[in-house]
Amino acid sequence: MSWVLDAQGLGKRYGRRWALRDCDLQIPSGHVVGLVGPNGAGKTTLMHLAVGLLTPSAGGIEVLGRPPAADPAQLSRVGFVAQDTPTYARLSVEDHLRFGAQMNPGWDDASARDRIAELDLDADQKAGSLSGGQRAQLALTVAVAKRPELLVLDEPVASLDPLARREFLQSLMEFVADGAVSVVLSSHVVADLERVCDYLVVLVDSRVQVAGEVDDLLATHRRLIGPRRDAGSLPAGQDVIEESHTDRQSTMLVRCDGPVLDPAWTVEELSLEDIVLAYMGNAATARRAHRKLEVFS
């Protein structure tokens, strides 16, 4: 199995504060991967480590089988669109295309110019006067035209309005359909990811809560509703992610290997958002419990 991203015990520390700690993550190639988690989970730090903007304080990370940004050849294999899609405000769209051409030996000028034309961008317009959506599209164009094997996007649509958001994701999907490229895309909005991703990683407090193909996640997670019973009484192969109880009734969100056979349960299918929120809530509960233990010990 070849990984586009392989992190082992990865950590990044600023002074005494760990922005990312003990992160183990492996992402198989050929997917559009959604990296989702609450603010402060370490998504941005993880992505900066993956593209070589940061170096690890602990552990290691390999991207496409090599250390990130090890040399210009490795840099050319990874495209990156940073948060808030930075561009040179005083330079024109045309200047940005020349920038890409000069900075990348594998630059695909024809496709870049096609994209700019499709987007109806004026080549002479200064990037500083573009709308947020146009700027994001320009940043995506530059990242895509270098023909990377892996494209990393950090919250690319976070500051866009719903229409620009949809158009951006549409552009991204067209690019992915073009060739054998892997994409890692972070967001805290599951609905955005649901539209484009076929693989999902939930990151909370540097820890991977769940990672897998979206279809598998949807197929293996169910909500069970039935008469009140204890979570421990479930058969092997059914792991409770989230549970809530009233006096007479239990609701459990479980991950199950096979079909749920117990006729006492009403079984409901789940949306991706349900699953993500369950894992994020689960992690938050665990964190609170951990804090309580620390208080008592």
Binding site: G52, A69, F80, Y88, L91, F99, M103, G106, K146
Partner: protein, 355 residues
């Protein structure tokens, strides 16, 4: 990479070049007249027996406002380059986040930094150097009459050393911008740091580039003299002899044994001179400390100077005029080396501290 760095720098670079061309034209148009004044007015004045200072006046007063402007430009352009070309060079990319765009292209960040520093650094040195050489050419008639281009202030607005100042100011701006990650504080620190560095070098380092020449002169009672009574005792001083275009390092009045005039000698030789206060330390008889008559202060002072001149001589250490270009080379090398060290710090910081 070079083409893109030029694109980023283009507007600033063109403004600098346009300024140079404009000033160059002004100097080209006014320079010949200055030479003409020097050749004719000075020669006429000297032929008719005018004093040296009076004969210099026509040259010194020609285009006097332009003289001030040119000197001011040569003086401040290096630090302006440091503040407006150096400080934002990396800081702006860090402030706006574009470094994340630049550092994730297929170019190592070391090369990115080297091209930026190299291109804009060379432009900085070229602009300040050309400006200074133009000014030096234009000023040559004035320098001939002033005979003071080795002076602490004049040295830095002559020859090619301003190119190195500009390179240093640029490197200082780029480094502080990188360290602070903010343009504005980097500009302020560059301004202060540059002024401090120039002062320290001009007054504490430059005089020691080479061992100065030591020479004894007989004292000239008609030169400018001063007698002061500070807390540490009475001191007498006089202007250095007329060493054209030399850098005076020290200037002392000593006797054959190398001793400066003692307090008791001055009290005896200089009664009634303002500044030599109080009665002599060991009054003999009644009225030794004669009270000078009104208007007699001048006379008493001259007597004092004559007495000192008779018993003492003047020892001057100085850097002779012939060392001017050697010193320009040394100071240029000093500032270039410091600039290279700053560039090295930038490289290390970019590779190890911003990751």
């Amino acid at each position: 990479m070079i083409a893109f760095s030029w694109r980023q720098f283009r507007t600033q670079g063109l403004i600098g070049a346009a300024g140079l061309v404009l000033l160059g034209l002004i100097l080209l148009l006014t320079g010949p007249n200055l030479v003409h004044v020097y050749d004719t007015a000075l020669a006429q004045c000297r032929a008719s027996g005018g004093s040296a200072s009076a004969c210099n006046n026509p040259v010194i007063s020609t285009d006097s406002k332009l003289q001030v402007l040119v000197l001011a430009l040569v003086l401040i352009v290096p630090v302006l380059i440091g503040m407006f070309w150096g400080a934002p060079l990396v800081a702006r990319e860090l402030e706006t986040g574009t470094f994340r765009l630049a550092w994730t292209q297929s170019v190592s960040r070391l090369r990115w930094l080297a091209v930026k520093l190299g291109l804009v650094g060379l432009a900085s040195a070229a602009v300040a150097g050309l400006l200074s050489l133009m000014a030096t050419w234009w000023f040559s008639p004035i320098d001939k009459v002033n005979a003071n281009r080795f002076g602490a202030a004049a040295f830095g607005v002559h020859g090619f050393v301003p190119a190195a100042y500009a390179l240093f100011a640029f490197a200082l701006g780029a480094t502080t911008g990188l360290l602070f990650r903010r343009t504005l504080p980097a500009m302020a620190v560059t301004l202060v740091g540059y002024i401090v560095a120039r002062f320290v070098v001009a007054y504490s380092v430059r005089p020691h580039f080479m061992a100065p020449v030591t020479k004894a002169f007989t004292l000239n009672p008609n030169a400018g003299w001063g007698i002061t009574d500070s807390g540490s005792g009475i001191q007498v001083s006089t202007d250095p002899p007329d060493l054209s275009n030399a850098l005076i390092v020290s200037n002392t009045i000593v006797n054959k044994k190398g001793q400066t005039p003692s307090a008791s000698f001055l009290h005896t030789a200089c009664p009634g001179v303002p500044g030599v206060s109080g009665p002599p330390p060991s009054p003999v008889g009644g009225h030794t400390g004669a009270v000078p008559a009104p208007g007699g202060g001048q006379q008493a002072f001259q007597q004092c100077v004559n007495a000192v001149s008779a018993r003492f001589h003047q020892v001057v250490t100085y850097q002779p005029a012939s060392r001017f270009w050697t010193f320009q080379t040394y100071e240029t090398l000093l500032f270039v080396l410091v600039s290279l060290a700053l560039a090295g710090l930038c490289a290390w910081w970019v590779c190890h501290r911003l990751s």
